[in-house]
Amino acid sequence: MWVYEKKLQYPVRVTRPNPGLAKNIITQYGGPDGELAASLRYLTQRYTMPTGQAIAVLNDIGTEELAHMEIVAALVYGLLQGASIEMIKKAGMDGYYADHDKALYFVNAVGAPWTATYIQSKGDPIADLHENLAAEEKARATYEYLIQLSDDPEVTDVLRFLRQREIVHFQRFGETLDLVQEHLNHRHYFYAP
């Protein structure tokens, strides 16, 4: 069960339409290292984690990623609001507009739709946690590229918050990997009475 909170995790303020920036930021909505992929990856991997601790981390970070998906959506929505057809054409977002108007859809920065092949769920907790560590670093790198591409300080502020969260998640996944490895090693000891 999930409970929705009618608030963003971090305030988003977009005052100027900017379809060119929206076109790039949308990759964190539906791209390979985006928030949809992140949330679904962790939430589906949690079932086969071996300890309550590891399940909690995947459950909670997966849930926070859903909130990040909403923040990214709010950015893209805000940047497309009030954008004229001329601005959309100039930004090269006319193809997206033909299919979706200004609606939110799960694509990467060049329009490729989201695919479950972006994520894996291997059943092996060591393999899955390594994937998650890599996923956090790839998302961090993407936010850094987006910060370089951003020409709107209000948007950059939000991108910085999201970038910082990837670093914290990487830290928690690293600790979880250590704890799971310790747990798996312990299982091999047998005590004679």
């Binding site: 409970v3 009618k6 608030k7 963003l8 305030p11 977009v14 601790q53 805000g78 914290v168 600790e175």
Partner: protein, 91 residues
Amino acid sequence: MREDRERMEMLKELQELSFVALEFNLYLDTHPCDRRALAEYNCFTQAYQAAKMRYERMYGPITNFGYAPSQYPWQWIETPWPWQIGSEEDC
């Protein structure tokens, strides 16, 4: 306008308090025996719940499904939704 500013300030406080609670939550997931962190988590949880109730009394529920009561008529459907707050056209 003044009410709007007050609302945004209260909302920001909610965002701050729930972020601190979330951050301690994730930390405790990998440090379950850290008593100081646990005390902080419980403290911020209490502060968040109190701030949430204050906000909801004035502006309607931010959680549904039995987590917050509603006045008449059903307030959940009221705008603005979160993504409508920051952009100029709405609210």
